[in-house]
């Protein structure tokens, strides 16, 4: 039973009628659709900020946040909840609570991980003044952060978190996801324009140029997967990657064809650009544009942009997992998980999905803290002269691969998908579908190496002669 039905049932129960067009739908939609998204996505996005600081610290051999835990929050909770008791009594109770087995360890862990920063930063942002610069276009300026957050959160409505955890069953959810995430472009442009600041304006303009351009490789990469799967429904795409047997991961799109692997790489790179991460963080470009489009923002509005950025990263990770890494499915032994009770199955799926998303998340952070930023023209050149042609090449290759009889859609655990017409050349076709693209890739790599030439001897010597 999917949650979509739950909404229906809830609406009927609330209104006492079969008429779905009722106010209760709105309430139900919020309770059942939006609240779970916020409950799953929001904490992960918030945790992402701590994670980012920890990853940065690890890359730079620092400690990162390691002192702020939940001690203060705990004390505050005791003070507030037990306000009717004298202070000494509260302290004794607090001490008794802390003496419970495991509590001290948990508090220590929270401190070491700097988890309290979530609360501290939240309170800090709430406490800051909500400033609108005198030269700003007030309405546009104020509206932009909400739009950014909306654009980042909406695609999650159609995201299959688990087989039974899809908020909205949209038959074209892949299209829906990229369509609504496009709202973010508008938000960044509004922020850049509305701030009345030249650096913001440049940042906003860069954001628009970049995100509009990079939406094309993203869309093309998704289109490649759609071609392969024969469906635009993310949930069906995930289901189609199901492989019976123990080694479920062999069914993942990433491993189905070299062209799909290429599309995965392109999707990830273009996704990085879509969420404005280094090496594509043109719109923020701290050392050039101060802080780019969000230079003038402070407090909670700035926080919304930060949250939107991390949510966008989650979105790219979630799409990547769904399109190429089998979505919520386990890498091994998925066939057993589907036989578990629904709640346990959903929980396992959700955890697996979050794990895969976090893997992309960590990869994005690692990249950010390792690479320098590209220049504006280089970003554009990469998109139009490298990624888009690669996508088109991969699309043509995929089409031929499918025609040659590869990529037979296996039966999913939950039913079969309609088969596409095939030109079956048997083993020969399958072999060619792998050998030809790999040979092509080898030629391309050799050509690229030749064109870029060798490192200067001085550079090789500086890197210990092994560059």
């Amino acid at each position: 039973m999917s949650l979509g039905y739950a909404v229906d049932a809830l609406a009927r129960w609330l209104t006492g009628s079969e008429d779905p067009a009722s106010w209760a739908i709105a309430v139900a939609v919020f309770a059942v659709f939006v609240a779970p998204i916020l409950l799953v996505v929001f904490p992960i996005a918030a945790l992402g900020q701590i994670l980012e600081r920890k990853v940065a610290a690890a890359v730079q051999r620092r400690h990162g946040p390691n002192s702020v835990g939940f001690d203060g929050v705990l004390r505050l909770a005791f003070r507030v909840c037990l306000f009717f008791l004298p202070r000494a009594r509260q302290d004794r109770l607090l001490a008794a609570f802390c003496a419970l087995p495991g509590i001290k360890g948990l508090l220590h862990l929270a401190r070491r991980l700097g988890l309290g920063q979530l609360v501290a930063d939240g309170v800090k942002m709430l406490g800051k003044e909500d400033m609108v610069p005198s030269g700003a276009d007030g309405v546009v300026f104020r509206l932009a952060p909400y739009l950014a957050l909306t654009g980042a959160f909406l695609p999650f409505c159609a995201m299959p978190f688990a087989h039974h955890l899809v908020m909205l069953e949209v038959p074209v959810s892949a299209l829906y996801a990229i369509a609504v995430s496009g709202i973010t472009v508008m938000a960044l442009l509004m922020a850049g324009w509305g701030s009345g600041n030249k650096f913001s304006l440049l940042g906003g303009m860069r954001a628009v140029a970049q995100m509009v351009s990079y939406e094309i490789p993203v869309a093309l990469a998704i289109a490649g997967v759609v071609l392969w799967s024969g469906t635009m429904d993310l949930h069906a795409i995930v289901g189609q990657q199901y492989q019976p047997g123990v080694l479920t991961f062999l069914g993942w799109n990433l491993l189905q064809s070299p062209f799909l692997a290429l599309l995965a790489v392109v999707f990830f790179l273009a996704g990085l650009a879509e969420c404005q991460r280094t090496p594509f963080d043109m719109a923020e470009a701290e050392s050039e544009l101060v802080s780019g489009f969000n230079t003038e923002y402070s407090g909670l509005r700035w926080g919304m942009f930060a949250m939107a950025e991390y949510t966008e990263m989650l979105l790219i990770g979630a799409l990547f997992a769904s399109l190429f890494l089998g979505g919520y499915q386990s890498p091994i032994g998925e066939q057993w998980i589907v036989t578990w009770p629904v709640w346990l199955e959903s929980l396992a799926h959700l955890l697996l999905f979050v794990t895969k998303v976090l893997a992309s998340f960590l990869l994005m952070m690692w990249i950010r803290w390792t690479l320098p930023r590209l220049r504006v023209d280089q970003v554009m050149r990469l998109c139009w002269l490298k990624l888009v042609p690669l996508c088109l090449l991969a699309m043509v290759g995929l089409a031929f691969t499918i025609l040659l009889g590869n990529g037979t859609v296996p039966g999913t655990a939950y039913g079969r998908l309609p088969a596409l017409p095939r030109l079956d050349l048997g083993v020969l076709g399958r072999l060619a579908a792998w050998a030809l693209p790999l040979a092509l890739a080898a030629i391309l790599v050799v050509a690229a190496r030749k064109r870029h030439g060798q490192l200067h001897p001085a550079l090789r010597q500086l890197t210990g002669g092994s560059a």
Partner: protein
Amino acid sequence: MTPAGERMTLNLGPQHPATHGVLRIVIESDGEVVAACTPDHGYLHRSIEKIGECVEWPLFVPYTDRVDYVCAMNANLAYCVAVEKLLNTSAATAVQVPLRAECIRVLVAELNRISSHLIGVGAMAMDLGAYTPFMHGIAQRELVNDIFERLCGQRLTYNYVTIGGVGFDLYAGAEAEITRFFEQFEREMVRFNKLITTSTILRDRCAGVAPINAAEAVAWGLVGPNLRASGVDWDLRRDEPYGIYGQLGVRVPVGQAFAGKNGVVGDCFDRYLVRLLEIQESVRLCREVLKMLPPPADKPTDPVGGFQADVKRLLVKPPKGEVHCRTEAPRGEMGYYIVSDGTKVPYRVRVRTGSFTAAGIFHKVMRNIFLADVVAVIGSFDVVVPEIDR
């Protein structure tokens, strides 16, 4: 290109994360392209030269720290060498710096050159969006600072080199500590270079950006690594040696279009890489000096094993006259022009610094380049604003 009236004026600095302090550059931008720019200096002017006319000879040394606080040892050294040159103009006041002091001077100057260049290349990488190399560079700089702190009690403004020698002798175990530092430092630099120097993005960002050819570099008075990056083989430590540099055989790296495919001699990448090569050379020089360091003598003024010639009496009545003395600081020639009227206070102290001339060519090279390149160019020249304004 849009006509002048439709261009946008952009104030880069004085408060901007990429301008290394309070450098201000007024950019006339045509969208992302910089049509023209005007550097505006003077935000960090502290009248250091005027102060020089008001304090006694040895008391000016702490002020030289503030001329370039990223390499205060070299700044101390430049002034002290100049005053010694002045004293040596008369046989009556000639000063003989002890050999051990000379060795220590080279040691601290080269160590400080290393830590200064680490800031230079690290900050440039940071300007290009890579924050991590900067942190790794800073970590190594901190280790140098640890050594300096044990040597003279300071981590930034050392006030260590004095007229006639150095302030203190090396602490016990300093040689071993410096040797140990170099061992891990060389490993770290290999990691640093693998992380950022060989990065294709960095080379693509810097290759062919703001190239300055040798003739231009000389004509605009560039000095130090910025001059050498343009292919001019000139280093005062080798060509006009002071102290014991003459005995060390300094090897001078020059720009050779290191970036590869799109590289031009004298582009941003050459300026970046010449600094990294100089770091290597400095490590070698320090090792040489450690080999020839004489053992300490009981008497501080001992001509071989001492660390400080007795100049107190000489500085009360130095010879009249003027002297210009230049030394090779990390940011290029640091020249002191000193006029003495024979009293215990200098008549005039004039400082000529590398960042000053580097800032002079900004408006010429920052034309028709991308806005993002502007920060790369500033970073590649490694200017330190207090050195421009003084």
